[in-house]
């Protein structure tokens, strides 16, 4: 097994210490930082996402895999050149106003990051104005809204309306337990995904279109 393959395996099994050590070893051996990210860390998260989607692993395994990826990222990130980091795009994500459910949103953020996006997580209970501010400030290509409650889903619509002036620059995807593709259509979202791995596919498709 190559060093980078081994790194992926430790991401998959969620061993942060091993991942960090292997990243340091790879750097010492002269492996390019971008290769460490793209051939070591990201493939691990891709595997975890695919397994999560088919219930082969569950929420805790995704959380520890993401933690392991972060441990590696923290070491290589400062070494990435500007051209390395600009590749995929920026995603702003948050849970809408009135809603505190954050596990789903966090997993989506982790998988997007694990797929090479720069993720700006603006938290829970996020009012539409704060999404607008984040769009103005970070100029993302993707905005992801999460809602787990029928009482807060309506705040997705309000957020999308407020972002109207920016719709030619950002694609909006939504998700969460009560969300359906039909609802996404009705409120004018660009995309919907039922789980964190599909959220990455959704973001990729939106950027390609």
């Amino acid at each position: 097994m190559s060093l980078l393959e081994e790194m992926s395996e430790w991401v998959i099994s969620g061993n942060a210490n091993k991942v960090k050590a292997l990243v340091e070893q790879a750097l010492a051996e002269g492996v390019a930082p971008a290769s460490i990210v793209n051939e070591g860390l990201i493939p691990g998260m891709t595997v975890i996402g695919a397994k999560f989607k088919v219930n082969e692993v569950y929420v805790p395994e995704v959380l520890i895999a993401a933690r392991a990826m972060h441990a590696g990222m923290a070491v290589v990130k400062p070494l990435l050149s500007v051209s390395d980091t600009k590749e995929k795009g920026i995603a702003v994500i948050g849970t809408v106003k009135g809603d505190l459910h954050d596990i789903g949103k966090n997993l989506v953020g982790m998988m997007l990051e694990g797929a090479g996006y720069t993720v700006i997580d603006i938290g829970i209970d996020v009012p539409p104005e704060k999404f607008l501010q984040a769009v103005q400030e970070h100029k993302p290509q993707i905005v992801g809204l999460s809602a787990l409650l029928t009482t807060t889903m309506t705040n997705m619509k309000a957020t999308i309306e407020l972002l109207k002036p920016y719709r030619d620059q950002v694609k909006i995807m939504i998700g969460g337990a009560p969300i359906t593709p039909k609802f996404a259509d009705e409120i004018g979202a660009d995309g919907y995904a039922a789980d964190a791995a599909s959220a990455v596919d959704c973001a990729n498709n939106l950027l390609a279109s």
Binding site: Y58, E61, G104, T151
Partner: protein, 365 residues
């Protein structure tokens, strides 16, 4: 037939005169209804407040059971802090977000070892005052209504609430020692409370730990079987030891298809709430597969028709659920969660009316 007999016959897998009902309300819905009906709508001070509050309103609507549970100890009521947040006896601090009070401080958020855990003391389960309200409710309603003792955050949920869900799940998966110890202490705490509720006269103990999400289990079935199942088995055995007649209900939101056999094995007799839009949680299929062994309580969709449908659609939802699970008894109609503030009063009335219309035995569905 008295409500109590109706409820007990149903959960004993016999046909009563009609399908019993057991719903709970969020404070906003209770206030709307209470004002309309001229009944008190204040919530009780308790960890699981909505399950034991608003009793008069719920009975007037048509509930067949009364929820009781632990209140706060006299010495440690929930206090309002200078900044308006609420602090309870567990050391949890809650803040209001929109409709809901949610935890912003968790007492074990920084714990990593059993030694650190030892610095934290769970409240005294039998502290003076803890059961004053439950006693009052039992003496008022016993005999006429079924008494449901609520212990819905039995092991997993109360434990993760003290720690924070993400940290808890990661530490659990890494096999941290303090998790095992915390789970044991929380199980002991709730066992003591449940035993007291049984002694007071609960007909049913309503346990629960949410292991489901919309798409599937939150943790692996294996992890459930290794860590939580043995603890839950002991808790249930303790309750049956005090009174073998007491019935065990179990609540888990979301999709928990892989562990239903496990729950039945450890003594669960009533499955709740069978959240209909969660993957695989199909009341009709479950009735076929498990209906000779357990009863069901729930089924009414709170993610679609109850908040968003018309009263006619609510009525046909009720009819559909009764058709799926009502035959031969074994079914208590209930919404899949406490009724949320976006639900109209008309829809709530429509739900209760429809049970009377379609739920009368012999069923003609």
């Amino acid at each position: 037939m008295l409500a109590r007999e109706r409820f007990l016959r149903a959960i004993n897998l016999q046909e009563p005169d009609r399908v019993p009902v057991f719903a709970n309300l969020t404070p906003q819905v209770a206030e709307k209804l209470g004002k309309k009906m001229g009944l008190p709508y204040e919530a009780e001070d308790s960890f699981l407040s909505t399950r034991i509050s608003h009793t008069e309103i719920l009975l007037e609507l048509g509930n067949d059971a009364v929820g009781i549970g632990p209140g706060r100890a006299i010495s440690s009521p929930t206090v309002e802090l200078p900044d308006g947040k609420l602090k309870d006896e567990f050391g949890m601090v809650y803040q209001r977000f929109g409709y809901y009070d949610e935890a912003v401080v968790r007492p074990l958020a920084g714990v990593t070892t059993t030694d650190e855990l030892d610095q934290y003391q769970l409240p005294d389960p039998l502290a003076p005052g803890r059961f004053d309200l439950a006693e009052k409710m039992v003496s008022k309603y016993k005999g006429q209504y079924a008494i449901v003792g609520d212990l819905e955050a039995t092991v997993f949920e109360l434990s993760w609430n003290l720690v924070g869900l993400e940290k808890f799940l990661m530490d659990l998966t890494m096999g941290e020692d303090y998790i095992t110890e915390l789970l044991k202490r929380v199980a002991a705490y709730n066992t003591a409370i449940g035993v007291r509720l049984i002694e007071l006269g609960a007909d049913v103990l309503w346990l629960g730990d949410d292991f489901g999400t919309q798409q599937g289990m939150m943790i692996s079935p294996d992890l459930y079987r290794h860590v939580f199942k043995p603890l839950q088995r002991n808790v249930i055995a303790a309750f049956k030891g005090v009174n073998p007649q007491v019935k065990i209900a179990y609540h888990s939101c979301g999709s928990i298809v892989p562990i239903i056999d496990d729950l039945i094995e450890i003594g669960v007799e009533i499955l709740n709430p069978v959240q209909p839009q969660a993957k695989g949680m199909d009341l009709g299929v479950f009735k076929q597969k498990y209906g000779d062994r357990i009863a069901f309580m729930g089924g009414v969709d709170v993610q679609g028709v109850l908040p968003n449908g018309t009263p006619e659609e609510v009525a046909s939802e009720v009819k559909k659920r009764i058709a799926a699970a009502g035959r031969g008894g074994g079914y208590v109609l209930a919404p899949a969660h406490n009724i949320q503030p976006d639900t109209s009063i008309e829809n709530i009335y429509a739900m209760y009316d429809a049970v009377r219309e379609y739920g009368t035995y012999p069923l003609s569905l």
